[in-house]
């Protein structure tokens, strides 16, 4: 595993999808080339002191541009930090700690299901790339409140197709694809006879909890990348507690953010 380092990243660009969703492209140290899907970074969002703490973002993609390694963060403007990120100018430098945490333990053989809720799709973009590179077939289940809440849906569709799978969209308002929750869309596929060896997911807690139930019912294992409030991102503050079936609290930033679905007390 890579040892996290605190470095200074350079902003390459900010791509709106449109807002509130955007991709932030950062030039980073070479170690990121080895990042595991599901790992995350702690990013200083402003040069000033407000907000004070860094913010956590999954690494959504990694590539080489010429000699330099760049990562993509796929994010949503929800507050002060993400607003500042969306306005970052090319060339701006920001402290970046990472890569952090434990990523997905991706399989060598499919088919598997990737299940994303909204901007929770971020770590699953990198997971898609890695699966495609291994030739593992996957379907990508992408849910959101409405069609506007599925940022970079085309990238996900292409990635799934390249791996012989497809994109299944679910929107709560029915504006696109399956009308309802993404876990219901997955259940419908399962009911229709489709089988997956495992699921890899990220999204809001209620979605993941529903997936954990489904997973238990159908005997289909899975892993989920969780989000919690984080003070530090590297095990120092103990702020990122995740209720664990052991009765103790696991740390999202160190023991996770990826957990087996059956490890978490939802």
């Amino acid at each position: 595993m890579i040892v996290a380092r605190d470095a200074v990243a350079r902003v390459v660009e900010v791509v709106p999808h449109p807002l509130p969703y955007f991709t932030l492209v950062l030039e980073v140290p070479d170690v990121y080339a080895e990042v595991t899907a599901g790992q995350f970074v702690m990013l200083e969002t402003t040069g000033g002191l407000e907000p004070y703490l860094r913010r956590a973002f999954s690494v959504a993609d990694v590539s080489k541009r010429g000699d330099v390694v760049v990562i993509e963060l796929l994010a949503k403007v929800v507050g002060r930090g993400t607003r500042a990120m969306a306005e970052l100018g090319r060339g701006t430098r920001r402290a970046l700690l990472g890569p952090l945490g434990r990523g997905f333990d991706l399989p060598e053989a499919g088919p598997v299901a990737l299940v994303a809720g909204g901007v929770g799709s971020a770590p699953l973009l990198l997971a898609s790339r890695r699966l495609a590179a291994r030739g593992v077939r996957f379907d990508f289940f992408y849910g959101g409140r409405s069609a506007a809440d599925l940022p970079r849906r085309d990238d996900f569709a292409r990635a799934a197709q390249a791996a012989g799978g497809r994109l299944v969209v679910a929107t709560e308002d029915g504006s696109e694809g399956f009308r309802g929750r993404v876990t219901e869309a997955l259940a419908a596929e399962l009911d229709a006879g489709r089988a997956y060896r495992a699921t890899y997911s990220c999204g809001p807690m209620p979605m993941l909890a529903a997936l954990a139930r489904l997973s238990a019912e159908r005997g289909m294992p899975g892993e989920a990348a969780l989000e919690t409030e984080m003070g530090c991102g590297f095990g120092a503050c103990l702020g990122c507690a995740v209720p664990h079936v052991s009765g103790r609290f696991a740390l999202c930033c160190q023991d996770g953010p990826v957990f087996r679905l059956d490890e978490v007390r939802w």
């Binding site: 996290a4 002191l49 703490l53 530090c232 120092a236 503050c237 103990l238 009765g247």
Partner: protein, 310 residues
Amino acid sequence: MSAPALAVRLGALELPNPILTASGTFGYGLEFAHLSDLGRLGGIVTKGLSLEPLAGNPPPRVAETRGGMLNSIGLQNIGIERFLAEVLPRLERFPARVLVNLFGYEFDDYARLAERVDPYPGIAAVELNVSCPNVRKGGIEFGHDPEVLARLVASVRRATAKPIAVKLSPNSGAPVALAEAAREGGADILSAINTVLGMSIDPWTRRPRLRTNRGGLSGPAIRPIAVRIVFDVARQVGLPVIGIGGIETVDDVVEFLLAGASAVQVGTALFRDPRAAERLVDGLAARLGELGVASVGELVGAVRPWESPK
């Protein structure tokens, strides 16, 4: 001029420099080993340790506020035995002074913890957390009754020969009286301050942002409160003081030294920048040069308070 002397002495506790890391904000130290050079720090104060391991509070446990953050970790820790068996030996590989932060639920827990750590030469001092606002069961608020506090410290005094620091609460309304009680009980050092009791509510979900509703406020927002308490305690109680609360820059370190602190602890700032404490060691050395001051000691308590207006 030779390089300014950063070393400080707080009673029997000698430190290579006055920059420590605050309890609960630096894990057990090892979390930072790959991010910061532990050996350059004045010392490391461990996460609060109790007799038994503690699971801590359910999430959410942290929330950012303006200029600071709230936490209700609930003193999650691995317990003193695992600390001594597994962590301390690894920490000893770094040339960093280790102070253990101790807390108990029962009056006797403190003395038992102190007794337990007493034989370990790798532990430079104990710091008693008698003021953490996060744990409600039992009497963690030993820190709010001077009479109880004096007896508590005295019991620890009998249990260990190591320097004892008592960490003061800003929530009592009478920090000087408590500091005096700690001194009566035999404390060597006062650590000031712990977090300030606070609360924040999400206006949309209507939920308190911490699962325990209330929690401890830390970070720059509380710095003026901490400076005031350090100033009062340092002048009135006559024990060496470790200043804590919202420290982020060299200016802040100097401010606390001037107010009367002989050393400082850096807390929340480490979350923003894991190397914050290490950087302050360099920064302080440079600043002493700029100030034309030969040693940290020259700054301690060197504030020039205004006289009362007639």
